[in-house]
Each structure stands twice: as C-alpha cells, then as structure tokens.
Symmetry: C2
C-alpha cells in the first residue's frame, strides 16, 4: 500500500537488530487519518469474508483494530497479556514470545467472546516472527471458530513470521512488507 510505504520512508527509522521504528505515526503516537485509510484497505481485502469479530492483542494493535472494525461493523476482541482481577471465568490462553520486548507471556481471551459461529479476522500492527498471530490462531481454534486471515500493517520481510504463517495456511495480508537492502536501508517487497 503506497500510502503506508511512503509514510514509512518519510518518518520510519530502521535501527540495529531489524527494529523498524514507526512510533511517530503507528504505535506510540497514532495518525488517526492514516490508520483510517489502513482500516479501509483491510476492509477492501477481507470485506467479503463474512467477518464477525476482529481479534487483536494489547496494546498497540487495539487502536488499529478498532478503527478497522468500523468498516466491518463488527466488535473487536483484544487478548489480554497479564493476569487481571477483571478477567475470570472460562478463558482461552496461548503462550507468546515478544521479539521486541524479549520475553514470553500468556495471552488470554474470555470464552464468552469468541464462539464456534465466529469468522475471525486478526489485525495487528507488526508481523516479525509471527508468534502473536500464532497465539491468536490457537485461541480461534480453541473456540472452534474460523480464522479468516490476518491483516498486518507492517511485515518485516527479513524475518520468518510471514513465511511461517503462510505455510500453515493463514491468509496474511500485509500493507507494507519491509526488506533490508545491502546498505542497511530498507526497501519494500513488490
């Protein structure tokens, strides 16, 4: 998606270790107009799939999922990362390793909010090693629901997540796939 690619080139910063820093418009400060366009694009890609729920994981996926959900007219469910007094009853859980934060945690979704009739679209800001999406996929499967696909804003093409997810049959639609070029800069996969 050219709009997003242009914005990454203009305002993104590539740091050592393959960290793509887009905190000025996507995951710390959020440009709501841009994210509206990303939401519209996710709907163009998945709008005919009969999506009934959008699923994401806290924290930075939530805003993007909520904006996108307006186009689909469906609720958002976000997986929680930590034990909380507010989450009890039956829960689906899955372990996830965060590449950025360098630690493992458990994601949880109440079993009240995804059921066998649901057609679930996963939305997230980044795809690197694919662990978050695999965790969410496990939760969709535990619920007996159908996973429609994963809508990702920025895929790190130089990490294995995208390949891994596509190999297990997930329809992954990334709005920008970043590759590293020879000089430590970035380019986009066609």
């Amino acid at each position: 998606m050219k709009l997003l690619e242009d914005r990454i080139l203009k305002d993104g910063i590539i740091k050592e270790g393959g960290i793509v820093k887009v905190d000025s418009f996507l995951n710390h400060q959020m440009d709501i107009g841009l994210i509206g366009e990303l939401g519209r694009e996710f709907h163009r890609l998945f709008g005919d799939e009969g999506v009934t729920k959008i699923l994401t994981v806290e924290a930075s996926g939530i805003g993007i999922a909520c904006i996108a959900a307006q186009y689909f007219g469906v609720p958002v469910v976000f997986a929680k990362k930590s034990e909380s007094k507010n989450l009890d009853g039956g829960v689906y859980t899955a372990p996830v390793t965060s590449y950025t934060k360098g630690k493992e945690y458990i994601i949880r979704v109440s079993d009240k909010f995804i059921g066998a009739d649901d057609r679930v679209l996963i939305i997230d800001d980044f795809l690197a090693k694919g662990k978050a999406v695999l965790g969410l996929k496990s939760i969709v499967e535990q619920a007996g629901a159908t996973l429609v696909g994963a809508g990702i804003c920025i895929e790190k093409g130089f990490q294995e997540g995208g390949r891994l997810l596509r190999e297990v049959g997930i329809r992954v639609e990334s709005l920008a796939i970043v590759e590293l070029d020879e000089n430590g800069g970035i380019k986009f996969r066609e």
Copy 2:
C-alpha cells in the same frame, strides 16, 4: 449519558471490591458502534477547547481514544507501561498505581510527541482512584503543554478519584458515574 448507563445496567456486572465489569462491550470485547457514540459525546463536551492531542495509557484506553480522535481530527498518543527496545531518547515518565491489577508501574511518553504548544485531552475507560490521570497530568506538565481536561467513560463515584482530580482543578467529564446502592447494586449520579 443515558446510552452508556443503559448499557451498563443491561450488560455490566458489579463484583466484590467495587469492580465494575464491562468486558462484554468496553474493555475486552469492544462494541465499536457504542464507542463511536462515546467519542461523539467527548467531542460535544470538549470540541471547542482547541484540542491538539489526545493522550491515554495502554491498553484499554487506546481504542476509545482512537475512535474519539476521529471526531477531533487530532493524533492519539498513548503512554507505554513497560520498558521496550522501541522506546528511547527523551521520555517523560510518571509512576502509576493500578487499582485493578494491584501493582505500581511507570508510564512513559516520548518527548517528541507532546510539546509546549499542545492542548491535551486525556481519554480513559475508567476512573477509580485517579492515579492514571494524575500520571498523565504529570506528563502533560513535564511537556509544558496545557491539559484541557479528562474524558472518562465510567467513573466509580464511590471511589475518590473523581473528587481528587476535580479538587486539583482538572475538568473531568465522565459519561457515567456509578454509585453503589444499599443492596450492593448500582445507581448513577445525576
């Protein structure tokens, strides 16, 4: 706001210790249509204040802030709760105690995203003891920015946060103020 009050009565659950559980529509599963109406109401209340940034804290405030920001046409900045490789450079920090999670953490905002010219509106899902808003207020002050007020979805009127924030001069607009009645049920402050 009657729409929100009716929804709390219909789908909210009051648990021991004053925990108001609204996870079926506000902070785990999110009813995007309802949240759109809450965003519209925040804009009705604060729309003439020249707001330039909406500030919230991860995680459950983010979606509400993003939807509300569409009405204001301004970016969202969300404070992060944990150390991350992606957050460096100058940061504003403040300690916050979470009532629900029973622990203290540090919230952080990059100094690139709030400046002296900003007029900041804080948005959050809940107001209980007021610690999150006070932490965000400290960050606004560190930036030399102007705090326009705090837009809260649900205030727990039986806890001290609302009184505390109003006493220090913050304009707090809560869309529903929940009080406990004599039978352990709830009612709303007029």
